[in-house]
Symmetry: C2
Subunit: 159 residues, 2 copies
């Protein structure tokens, strides 16, 4: 995932007539260094480590600002909390979400996107955005489940 350089975010702030403040610098930097799918709270904790005086509201406001500017985008998976991802313009990716451990894996599929366009067109829609999420169990969790049920089987046979 492409990261915004410090230069580029300062330029972008200026283009929008926005001020580059001590707080914004920290928040944007934390966001740039963070992986995808961080919640506001997770980002806020990181931000506090660098400057404990920054408030929750500022983090929210900056994140919203970044989303409006197209540098970030927010989404909600199963729960009701917003998670943010870096926005590499033009690119889009979808998600596999593990219902057990919460792991989120990204993927892309041109073929699915092509089918989506065709369907949308058939229904008279012009699509600007899409969201595809697959919920299930990841390989690690499947393996754990397998080990667990094996143990039970063995116990049953022994007992």
């Amino acid at each position: 995932m492409k990261k915004l350089s410090e230069f580029s975010y300062r330029r972008l702030l200026k283009e929008r007539g926005l001020k580059s403040t001590r707080q914004r610098d920290v928040i944007i930097q934390v966001f740039m260094e963070a992986g995808d799918h961080w919640s506001v709270d997770e980002l806020y904790q990181r931000v506090r480590q660098r400057n404990p005086k920054i408030g929750y509201a500022t983090v929210y406001r900056t994140l919203r600002l970044m989303a409006e500017s197209g540098w970030a985008s927010s989404r909600q998976f199963g729960d009701r909390i917003a998670r943010f991802e870096h926005q590499a313009e033009g690119q889009h990716h979808d998600h596999l979400i593990c219902l057990v451990c919460g792991k989120i894996v990204e993927f892309e599929s041109e073929r699915i996107e092509a089918l989506q366009s065709r369907i949308a067109h058939k229904k008279g829609f012009q699509i600007y955005e899409h969201k595809l999420e697959l919920y299930g169990h990841c390989s690690d969790c499947l393996a754990k489940e397998e080990r667990a049920s094996k143990k039970i089987r063995e116990k049953t046979e022994r007992g």
Copy 2:
């Protein structure tokens, strides 16, 4: 979308050892008669029309009950509010959402689902559920936009 008959919901309540109350009867009936994608509040307003004494919490609880029993399923589109749909078992459908008027159109695509399975398998996931939402402008809203921009063009040419 298949509706549960009154008989069938009474039977289902009994199977789960649940009581059929005055409130539940109304709420379930409203839900059965309603279209898909109603918010709790929309359903609640309808429920109040039939019995103004029913509380918000009971609507929430009954809806959750129905979701747990597999008669309903809840999802959130762009916003942070839950919307409910009837659950015809085994079937799954996806959504086209108009960003202008909020219209929601359902569709199904076996081919997309097949591709999803393949991708999930490749990434080691076992999928239990998925969510595909296409956001854009519907044909009605596109037509309105077209008329509006035509008017502006004419005005510009005349002026």
